[in-house]
């Protein structure tokens, strides 16, 4: 057997996985009856259906030709995700100003034209704008500076 459509191959596997995950997960809840659907009834039904559809996609990948999977841009994904998580989890401890600077600098390093001066200027501009719009304007209750300074 040769895989003719790698994209469908992986998509099929993913759907089968998700389907089984929800079906097995629903096993912890009460199935109920058709007359009185329990919390597990609908998820089991959908999960099963999804695994079947996923199986069809999987099977099809051996029959119908399709595109190759292009590599996932791990570096980009890493920088963007880390930038967001740093911002989210550090906002309260270090305040909006520093958290935003981190978000901008880390996410900008994902690009292929990183110039520190430019990025710092951008960070300052975005921070000023965000403080004005979100904190002063829309009244979001964000701490501005780190706890030990505030």
């Amino acid at each position: 057997m040769r895989i003719k459509s790698p994209k469908d191959f992986w998509a099929g596997l993913m759907f089968i996985g998700f389907g089984l995950f929800f079906m097995i997960g629903a096993g912890n809840y009460d199935l109920g009856s058709t007359e009185r659907m329990g919390p597990a009834y609908f998820p089991t039904m959908l999960g099963g259906l999804m695994a079947v559809v996923g199986g069809a996609v999987f099977f099809q990948s051996f029959v119908v030709s399709g595109g190759k999977v292009v590599a996932i841009p791990l570096r980009l994904l890493f920088f963007i995700t880390v930038a967001l998580l740093l911002f989210g989890y550090l906002l309260k401890p270090i305040g909006l100003v520093l958290a935003l600077a981190l978000l901008v600098v880390v996410s900008a390093s994902a690009g292929h034209e990183f110039k520190l001066r430019e990025v710092l200027l951008l960070a300052v501009a975005l921070t000023v704008l965000s403080v004005l719009v979100f904190v002063k304007g829309l009244g979001q209750p964000f701490p501005l500076l780190p706890k030990f300074l505030g």
Partner: protein
Amino acid sequence: MEMQFLDNLSLGFGVAFQWVNLLYCLIGVLLGTLIGVLPGIGPTATIAMLLPVTFGLSPITAMIMLAGIYYGAQYGGSTTSILVNIPGEAASVVTCLDGYQMARQGRAGPALAVSAIGSFFAGCVATVVVAMFAPPLAGMALKFGPSEYFSLMVFGLVGATVLAHGSLLKAIAMVLLGLLLGLVGTDVSSGMMRFTFGIYELSDGIGFVGLAMGLFGIAEIISNLELKGSREVFTSKIGRLMPSREDFRRMWKPILRGTAFGSALGILPGGGALLASFGAYALEKKISRYGNEFGKGAIEGVAAPESANNAGAQTSFIPMLTLGIPSNVVMALMVGALMIQGITPGPRVMTEKPEMFWGLIASMWIGNAMLVILNLPLIGIWIRLLKVPYRFLYPSILVFMGIGVYGLSNSPFDVLLMAIFGILGVIFVKIECEPAPLILGFVLGPMMEENLRRALLIAQGDPTVLITKPISAGFLIAAVTLLVVVLAPAIRKKREEVFVED
């Protein structure tokens, strides 16, 4: 009936002309245009990003602003298509074909003008269509019981997957995944926590905004960063804006046809701006006397799809407002926004909150008028915006999304959700799974379960109730027919491929 219609419209205009609504309508259309102009950020990502901004507003003002963003983004998208040959959003893809050619011939001005005029005309007509068709439809929907609703949702979801591009099977699987993700959280009838893994923040379900921003916003940013293409902007020679007498003679019929076609397609499940613009272009190319000029800068090739996409964008509000069923992903975002505001969209909205319903409709007309008045003079600003390099844009977008998502519950959890769905979104792009059906399913998941549960309870556990009630059966038959019609040629083609391979 006639009087009722006028009363309704005057109620609507009364609401839409309140200064706060006018203001947010203006902000909405401006923000929409602004972001629509930027290549690679479409209306879906824009609305997802701006959802948190609307939570502090009253529901009607929020809806007016979101609707403004939607059609503002359509306008902005056309500008980018014409000047840069990169569609600002998917519905403007066909506008690139002839619009960009016109720009290369030094006729960017008339191309921009015809797109604005066509869109405005279509917007006016579509507003009336919504006002006329929505009340009877809502009246009908009021008589629906749970089985009818369940089957209607099946039909809507099938329609949305059938008309989505790409593999049908994968689209169906994505709908199912969306439905399942929608069930995460507390089960309404048993109070049981489902699929929360003891995570307290998941007890209210997966956050809609984080999900939408991750799947659309983050995935889009990363896709854009992967492309390193250069773009050529026609900025120096916009030329005179006013179309010539000859242009007017050639464009009025395509505008009429585009409007009619777009209004009809917008109502269909899965319809809306995208399908309308593609269909209208193909239709116009077939019947126009100037069909051979298409692709070489024919003004009809801009007029028809631009009118159609705006008409379709607006009439796609009909199923959302009257049935509570989103026909495309933008409407799913609107449903999400309404639910966060504590309003369940459906036929009752029109009778219980007429000011909201008619105010929204009236605001569409006002918003379109604002766009046509503002946009042409502001074209210079939009062009300057097109020159902003992406390396400045995407950190700014991330800042905006980060603050917006964090502010939802003042906790990092929604940021985490957004990041996770961002990763998932990138994987979906790589294996060619459209995220739009997932969002539709996500919004409808809990409603579908509840309606099925009630339908079966009433029927004492007899599932045939879904096919013995005539209206419900009708929806299911329509859904199956759609599937068969679409699958049939595909099966044939694929079988041929198989035979060739052997």
